[in-house]
């Protein structure tokens, strides 16, 4: 008879859940993790990782098409959609296997099935439809002093726009297409919508993006989103902001969408496929939260800075515990959560320091306050900018579009936010994130030596620009 008593049980093995489990095990807790379908969750299997694999194929395809720009020749460049998808699935599988290995290495028990919290400390697990991996514990009753809900989120379904998985896709189908659509309507211009728009456009589809808000990438700084929009439109993506999809008429292999431009005028558009990327909602149902009286807010579980819910012994992390719904936020919450349980007194989550990345072309990355948000807070600010056209490395790469923008508080020199659009900026942003965490001011950033020639020099130049000292512009 397997042991059913644990110190900590985590429900959900996504990037938040499995990292939480490892940290809990490191701290000496006897830990188990409940999963119903994929170890590693959406991120490894259907999200972050496989989309990056797809986008990499698109990127290389793009370079091959533009080989001449680099003095190279590549004729008859083409692609095999099945092989592109196959590579992406292979990457996902490798990650998924890796997470399984990490669980074993850290002596975290994997319980296979659907979890329901009957009472604080008690979980019952029912068999799930997905077959269990070997070594996993099966359905039954389990006990744990601390239960951490990490059940993640799922695509939001808007009325009239419900995904049917055939003509109207969510990211699941978009990642695993039966065929390459010739034309595509993407509803929603958040990170997911824009990444798929970018991927399918590069692969040759006619892509239209519809966003209900006046700006694409609504959480990003308006100036950065504006620069990105220009770049997308140059690539041939059609973008309609302040517009709404009023109606979808489905045919056998196409969809006609009626789009309301916001002022009451409508237009119709017939496309092969529609991707619904109108956000995600927390998976708060079916795990017994209602019965326990766990407080929820706007479809997510309400938590404090250490991820405690209002019910003692029940915690929540990641997407199910509210925005921003990002894997790295989930991971960090998980670490904070178990360290607090251990009594290590970790700093509570500071949401102003969570970076966000979008892997379209050009890439977008940001952390902290946007210029507008800083103004809304009535902060007295200094803004610095530097375009990639002034950066030698970017010019050498043949990828010199975009800019770096930094926002400082005037009085203290506190770096309030950094917003980037351009080549490899998703890898650059971390420099600013570290700087913000260490509470550096403009002075330390100006005294920091950035290697030449790198894209990162634009970061320092933007800082210098905020203080009227820009060098290469």
């Amino acid at each position: 008879m397997a042991d059913t008593n644990f110190d900590i049980i985590i429900i959900g093995s996504g990037p938040g859940g499995y990292v939480t489990a490892i940290r809990a095990a490191q701290l000496g807790f006897k830990t188990a993790i409940v999963e119903r379908s994929f170890v590693g969750g959406i991120c490894s299997n259907w999200g972050c990782i496989p989309t990056k694999a797809l986008l990499r194929s698109a990127e290389i395809y793009h370079y091959m098409q533009h080989a001449k720009d680099y003095g190279l020749s590549a004729d008859n460049v083409s692609f095999d959609p099945a092989a592109v998808v196959k590579r992406s699935r292979g990457v996902a599988n490798r990650m998924n296997t890796g997470v399984g290995f990490l669980m074993k290495k850290n002596k975290v028990s994997v319980i296979w099935g659907e979890a329901n919290i009957g009472a604080p400390g008690k979980i019952s697990v029912k068999a799930s439809q997905t077959p269990a991996p070997k070594d996993a514990l099966g359905p039954g009753s389990y006990q744990a002093k601390h239960i951490i809900v990490a059940t993640g989120a799922r695509p939001r379904a808007l009325p009239g726009l419900e995904p049917d998985k055939k003509l109207v896709w969510t990211y699941f189908e978009a990642m695993n297409p039966d065929k390459m659509p010739k034309s595509l309507l993407v509803v929603g211009s958040g990170a997911i919508g824009i990444e798929f728009a970018s991927f399918y456009r590069t692969m040759g589809a006619d892509v239209t993006v519809v966003e209900v808000l006046p700006q694409i990438l609504p959480v990003e700084d308006a100036e950065i989103a504006g620069a990105a929009r220009k770049a997308f439109e140059k690539q041939g993506i059609k973008i309609l902001t302040g517009a709404k999809v009023a109606k979808l008429d489905k045919k056998s292999d196409s969809v006609t969408a009626t789009i309301d431009d916001g002022s009451g005028k409508t237009q119709t558009l017939t496309v092969d496929r529609v991707i619904s990327a109108v956000g995600v909602v927390g998976n708060i149902e079916g795990i017994g939260l209602e019965k326990l009286g766990v407080k929820t807010e706007r479809g997510t579980i309400a938590i404090d800075g250490h991820c405690k819910t209002n019910v003692p012994g029940i915690y929540a992390i990641g997407d199910v515990a509210g925005p921003p719904m990002l894997a790295h936020k989930a991971e960090h919450e998980g670490v904070i959560c178990v360290e607090a349980i251990k009594g290590l007194d970790p700093h509570p989550m500071d949401k102003s320091l969570i970076p966000g990345c979008t892997y379209c072309h050009p890439q977008i990355a940001s952390v902290g306050l946007t210029e507008q948000a800083a103004k809304d807070k009535k902060l007295d600010i200094r803004v610095g900018r530097f375009p990639f056209i002034g950066n030698g490395k970017a010019v050498a790469l043949g990828d010199d579009q975009g800019l770096v923008k930094v926002i400082f508080e005037k009085a203290t020199g506190r770096l309030l936010g950094a917003h980037l659009v351009g080549p490899e900026v998703t890898e650059l942003i971390q420099g600013f994130v570290v700087a913000m965490n260490l509470e550096t001011t403009e002075e330390e950033l100006m005294h920091t030596i950035f290697p030449h020639p790198t894209l990162s020099e634009t970061m320092k130049e933007a800082v210098l620009d905020a203080y009227g000292r820009v060098l290469n512009m």
């Binding site: 000496g28 006897k30 009594g343 290590l344 007194d345 203290t412 020199g413 509470e439 550096t440 330390e444």
Partner: protein, 465 residues
């Protein structure tokens, strides 16, 4: 693999605790959940439960050991099937040296030049965990930083502290390893987490005396002060903003302004009769209320204002950039309030009549007591008057309130025996002491100012010409 049992943190703030009692011995087998030891903190005694099962191979920290740092190995558990003896031998030596945590702790005595660091300076300012008891503070740890005054703080925190005029060394850090971060400075601005002021630089200036005596009271941490009194024998009243301002400004004043003091006796016989006459002739309104009633202090304010005009070199403020020579005499007058004091200012007092000064002063004092003064009514000024005469104080010295360069401490007017023309006579005498900022006002200049004041206060008619 043997499992280390670590000193647990029983509360978020706990840094060390006493190992009160072992409930298991070496060789005992334990199950998860078994109580194996009792740990004592300043707040409570708590039980330590085993998390794993196995055999206690070795007890590393014996019973009764005080101040065991959190996360130190206290015992080693041999897992099932392991040889407890072999395990014990393998860990015989000291497990983990206490981390040089001390480096995170700052020594407030940062203004002291290094060469003069006294041995006790290393011991006393250690702002240890609340758990620390007086005994513990006697222990001299070979701390990694005993010679250095480095304060670990984020750049932003440093700048914010500088802008707020708070000594960074006085702030309790809540970041990693006690590093001071921005929010600690935010808290310090409202007085939270502030340690005692650094020992004044003068402590080092008198080598032998300073070495022999203990540190000044102000250099004690709150914890050190509290440890000297039995809990329950006092009430801790939180400071309000005024108290903090007084403490900060006057401490800064005595530490940064080289004070010296000049005392003179003034014969105020003529002043008293003049006052009587003037008050008696004050016009009255219909209800018989006089339009003014001059106090001795009103004369003092006026005399000081006029004296400063006559000796303009003493009507100054020190700045690093240069001497601020004031055109007007703006005289601050200390007004006692419950729980503090404030010095509203009579602007351009040299040109105001006594009745104007008197009525203005009455209005300012009334509003000061109800704490309704506007900042511009008590900020600035070129000199000040502090009068404790009504309390029967003969003479005293006052602390200069920057940006002033002087302050006049006024004692009681009383009948004293004085010698005049070789005879002992009775006179009304008031002693006044002028405190001077030596950076701005030298001895002779201060004496001139005080002489001018004396001439005016002894011949009040001169004030009007």
């Amino acid at each position: 693999m043997p499992i280390n049992i670590l000193m647990p943190a029983l509360s978020p703030t706990m840094e060390k605790g006493n190992l009160a009692k072992w409930l298991k011995r070496e060789g005992d087998t334990v199950k998860a959940g078994d109580v194996i030891a009792e740990i004592e903190t300043d707040k409570a005694t708590m039980e330590v439960e085993a998390v794993d099962e196995g055999t206690i191979a070795k007890i590393v920290v014996p019973e009764g050991t005080a101040d065991v740092p959190v996360n130190d190995v206290i015992a080693v558990l041999a897992a099932e099937g392991e040889d407890a003896k072999a395990t014990a031998e393998g860990v015989g030596q000291s497990p983990k040296k206490p981390e040089p945590k001390a480096e995170a702790k700052r020594e407030p005595a940062k203004s002291e030049p290094k060469a003069e660091a006294k041995p006790e300076a290393k011991v006393e300012p250690k702002a240890e965990a609340p758990a620390e008891r007086p005994v513990a503070s006697q222990k001299t740890e070979p701390s990694a930083n005993s010679g250095s005054n480095r304060v670990f703080a984020s750049p932003l925190a440093r700048r914010m502290a500088k802008d707020a005029g708070i000594d960074i060394g006085r702030i309790e850090g809540s970041g990693p390893h006690g590093r001071i971060i921005a929010r600690d400075v935010e808290a310090a601005k409202s007085g939270k987490g502030l340690k005692a002021e650094a020992a004044p630089a003068t402590a080092g200036a008198a080598p032998s005396a300073a070495a022999a005596t203990t540190a000044p009271a102000s250099a004690m941490t709150d914890q050190q002060v509290l440890s000297l009194f039995e809990e329950g024998s006092y009430e801790l009243v939180p400071h309000d903003g005024m108290r903090r301002t007084i403490a900060q400004r006057l401490q800064a004043s005595t530490q940064t302004i080289p004070h010296f003091y000049l005392t003179m006796d003034c014969d105020i016989g003529r002043l008293l009769s003049a006052r009587e006459e003037i008050n008696a002739s004050a016009p009255k309104d219909r209800e018989g209320k006089p339009a003014f009633k001059l106090s001795v202090n009103d004369f003092v304010v006026k005399a000081m204002a006029v004296a400063l005009q006559r000796i303009p070199d003493a009507n100054v403020s020190w700045t690093e950039g240069g001497m601020l020579k004031h055109r007007h005499s703006d005289i601050g007058v200390a007004v006692a309030l419950p729980g503090g004091l404030i010095t509203p200012i009579i602007r351009q007092a040299e040109g105001k009549g006594l009745s104007t000064i008197s009525n203005e002063m009455r209005d300012l004092a009334t509003r000061a007591r109800s704490r309704k003064l506007k900042p511009q009514e008590y900020q600035g000024g070129t000199s000040a008057v502090s009068n404790l005469g009504m309390y029967g104080i003969k003479d005293f010295t006052a602390v200069i309130n920057p940006p002033h360069a002087t302050i006049l401490a006024v004692g009681a007017g009383e009948e004293r025996a004085v010698v005049r023309d070789g005879k002992i006579v009775v006179a009304n005498v008031m002693s006044v002491t002028l405190s001077c900022d030596h950076r701005a006002v030298d001895g002779a200049l201060g004496a001139e100012l005080l002489g001018a004041f004396k001439a005016l206060i002894e011949n009040p008619l001169m004030m009007v010409v």
